[in-house]
């Protein structure tokens, strides 16, 4: 719409078009709304974003630096906090590669082959998304807990699962397990088996076809899935909370540590650790946007979901 149309006071709604003089302003594109409607819609969206997203994020940083940068650094330097950071990195370092391998294998199987139970497997992959994280954690408590066969047997062999690092890793793997697979399945289905057929018709073995042809074709989608998987693995609270036991310095991950610090009224420390998680989120967001912008057509999430 032209400038004069904007400056003229327009009543709300569709009547605006009919009141306008015989100018360009009288024409309204079928898919566009009047200025007023646009302003209201955009306003609501911005207000909501500011309240729900921006404000909390700003608050995290403000609270963390309330007593100055010195206090902030001191809070981060605390041994228990450092242990929580180390543990979170360790868990992600184990869980993400596991899910990467599993995700690629599952997507490869589902996208490139026909077999019985394929639909079931596809549904199963989504299970962690539909189950509450607390239940995911509880499943492991029931499985490896003292009351059931597996728990005592493992204990007698000196293997601790619950309230130890293995339990946290297992719970994290379970919760983050759909990210890579879900990203790759539509992508690989879309690409079909043509390139692989070409490769094997040229004499390549299955492994060579995968390594030289399939993997390069999915690399950006894979990176995207890994990124989301990593963000979730580091930020997971519910499932990990159930299996970890909250032993400070031993089985506390960053999100759990934030909760403990907060409950102890140690706000600066709680928010300081939170800034790390928030920074992780922001970095993920930037990388994700870059990937989507640069390789959008090779990432299923932007095209299909």
């Amino acid at each position: 719409m032209s400038v004069e149309a904007l400056s003229r006071p327009l009543p709300d709604g569709a009547a605006a078009g009919t009141l306008a003089p015989v100018s360009k302003a009288a024409f309204k594109r079928a898919t566009t709304e009047t200025t007023a409607t646009k302003a209201v819609l955009i306003g609501i969206a911005l207000l909501f974003l500011a309240l729900v997203l921006v404000l909390p994020l700003v608050a995290v940083f403000v609270e963390a630096f309330r007593k100055g940068a010195g206090e902030f650094l001191f809070a981060l330097n605390e041994p228990d906090t450092l242990a929580a950071i180390r543990l979170t990195l360790l868990v992600a370092a184990i869980a993400v590669p596991c899910n990467l391998i599993f995700g690629v294998a599952a997507a490869w199987a589902i996208a490139k082959f026909e077999f019985k139970g394929k639909a079931f497997l596809t549904t199963l992959i989504d299970l962690p998304f539909s189950v509450s994280p607390v239940i995911s954690g509880l499943v492991y408590v029931l499985l490896f807990g003292a009351g059931i066969v597996l728990g005592p047997w493992l204990k007698s062999h000196g293997i601790e699962i619950l309230f130890a690092v293995p339990g946290i890793v297992l719970a994290t793997i379970f919760v983050t397990f759909p990210f890579v697979a879900r990203e790759l399945i539509p992508l690989m289905q879309d690409q079909g088996t043509g390139d692989e057929e070409a490769a094997i018709s040229l004499g390549a073995s299955g492994w060579q076809a995968f390594w030289y042809v399939t993997l390069p074709n999915i690399k950006w989608g894979l990176l995207y899935g890994v990124l989301l998987c990593n963000a979730r693995a580091m930020g997971e609270f519910g499932a990990v909370s159930v299996v970890s036991g909250h032993i400070r310095g031993l089985t506390n991950t960053m999100p759990l540590h934030v909760e403990i610090l907060y409950n102890e009224y140690n706000f600066v420390a709680a928010f300081a650790v939170s800034t790390l998680l928030a920074a992780l989120a922001l970095v993920t967001l930037v990388l994700k946007s870059v990937l989507e912008f640069r390789y959008g057509d090779e990432i299923a999430a932007t095209a299909k979901h």
Partner: protein, 370 residues
Amino acid sequence: MDVSIRNVRKEFDRFPALRDVSLDIRSGELIALLGPSGSGKTTLLRLIAGLERPTEGAVFFGDEDASHKSVQERNVGFVFQHYALFRYMTVADNIGFGLKVRPGATRPPSAEIRRRASELLDLVQLSGLEKRYPNQLSGGQRQRVALARALAIEPKVLLLDEPFGALDAQVRRELRRWLREIHDTTGHTTVFVTHDQEEALELADRVVVMSQGRIEQVGTADEVYDTPNSPFVYGFIGESSSLPVRVEGGQLWLQDRTLGLTAEDVPDGDATLYFRPHDVELITDGCGGCIAGTVAASRRVAGTRRVELEIGGDRHRVEIELPIEHPAAQKNRVAFRPRRWRVFSESGAVGGPVASNGRVHHEELARTGT
């Protein structure tokens, strides 16, 4: 390398894609598999390549049964319909791929692979494009790269699936001639799939016409065009007109009029007459034995005029070609007799002025089970 397909049947989930197909391809031949979509031509090609496994029957490469060999072991060059070039590899890497993935002992050194790639690029007339990526090439160029890639592994047989399907008409004609040249230079046994009869007739030594999972006819362009052995082939290759007729004592009848055409070997009963619209002889002076009808529609097609005639009481329409200067107009009566024609009885018997040659061929096919 001779390729022999013996009594091959292929079903996809009980749906028959090929029903008992046999075909002998001679070494060095250029063969076209021609048919409408769903006729099984691509399935047959993929069976030769080993990308599909036959439900029954065998595929022989020379004297060797290749049915249970994997795709890799068959050493065929396959050019896919959409080329399936590897996006993240340069043109040179694409072409060299088949050599690079060979097991250690038979793998040429990388300098040799590079040399071979650029040699093949010369052959397909794309010299100097080694460093390009597939998405920097035109459709015709990609097609050439795909062919070069397939040739790089020195295949026993070259198989092409709708090689020119995705290209525009101009490029298509050019590549067609060029493929023929490549074939004549390299001498590979080549099989290509197409639904374009012009392409098949122009390019191939022999054309295999397929329909509904069966081979209808195998022959040179002349054979399948001049002596089609089934109504399907008549209808599918070139243009044709058909007319329901009756055979009585070796004579063709249209209701109560004789057509002046004799088909001695065809048993009495209902049959269908097929002829080419352009292959007719106009009869001007009286009609002792001819097909006569009134002009129902007329249109100009390039250098000739096409008219639709309504024949007989049930106004069956046939199309024939008239010279431009012919005065025929709406409602005019035109009488003609086809020069070359065939009649197919309901029992499957075939008759026509060129029958002898065609019939022998037909029996031959029947014996081999096609």
